[in-house]
């Protein structure tokens, strides 16, 4: 496996190749997609993208954590976290593409 890391640049390039827009505008649209998903989540909305997956906001209650290095107890405040549940299609494609990997 190549183990590359893709970034906004790669998504921008894909959009640029797919649609006849400038690279600059392609970059803005990629950003806009991420921004709208983030904004919806911040509003507490679930974001459900068919054949991709579902982003959900969950409330975590306060708990006592522990610094794994020092063993010291630290309070963890209640907070909101995002969870992502991949679609069946994404799970199948990722499983198929990585089957038999040797690492």
């Amino acid at each position: 496996m190549s183990g590359k890391t893709l970034t906004r640049v790669d998504l921008t390039e894909a959009v640029f190749r797919e649609v006849g827009l400038s690279r600059n505008e392609s970059a803005q649209l990629v950003e806009s997609v991420l921004q709208h998903i983030s904004d919806a989540l911040v509003e507490g909305d679930t974001v459900k993208i068919s054949s991709f997956g579902t982003f959900t906001v969950r409330d975590k209650s306060a708990r006592v954590g522990r610094n794994p290095k020092t063993g010291e107890e630290v309070p963890i405040e209640p907070r909101r976290v995002v969870t992502f549940r991949p679609s069946q299609l994404m799970k199948e494609r990722v499983a198929a593409g990585n089957r038999g990997r040797t690492d």
């Binding site: 496996m1 190549s2 183990g3 590359k4 890391t5 893709l6 970034t7 906004r8 790669d10 998504l11 894909a14 959009v15 797919e18 649609v19 827009l21 392609s26 649209l29 990629v30 806009s32 997609v33 991420l34 709208h36 998903i37 983030s38 919806a40 989540l41 911040v42 909305d45 679930t46 974001v47 459900k48 993208i49 068919s50 054949s51 991709f52 997956g53 982003f55 906001v57 907070r79 909101r80 976290v81 995002v82 969870t83 992502f84 991949p86 299609l89 994404m90 799970k91 494609r93 990722v94 499983a95 198929a96 593409g97 990585n98 089957r99 990997r101």
Partner: protein, 95 residues
Amino acid sequence: MIRSELIQRIAEENPHLYQRDVERIVNTVFEEIINALAEGNRVELRGFGAFSVKKRDARIGRNPRTGETVAVEEKYVPFFKAGKLLRDRLNGLED
């Protein structure tokens, strides 16, 4: 929010684009992420989050209905971790 609403919101902000082009743009973004993961790559989108592939070891599972044991092969699953900016925004820590 679902895919069509996301497309709608972006289309409204970009009245100079055809709706079908906005659809292609949005679909391309998600398609590229899946392709990258299927090839064993990571996708890192600073501020938003990172998609990666995690290995699940082979295990002996159990059919919850019959109690029968079944061998489950090792497999690779998609994983998402929210970025710091998004985590902060969710908790009211605006920039």
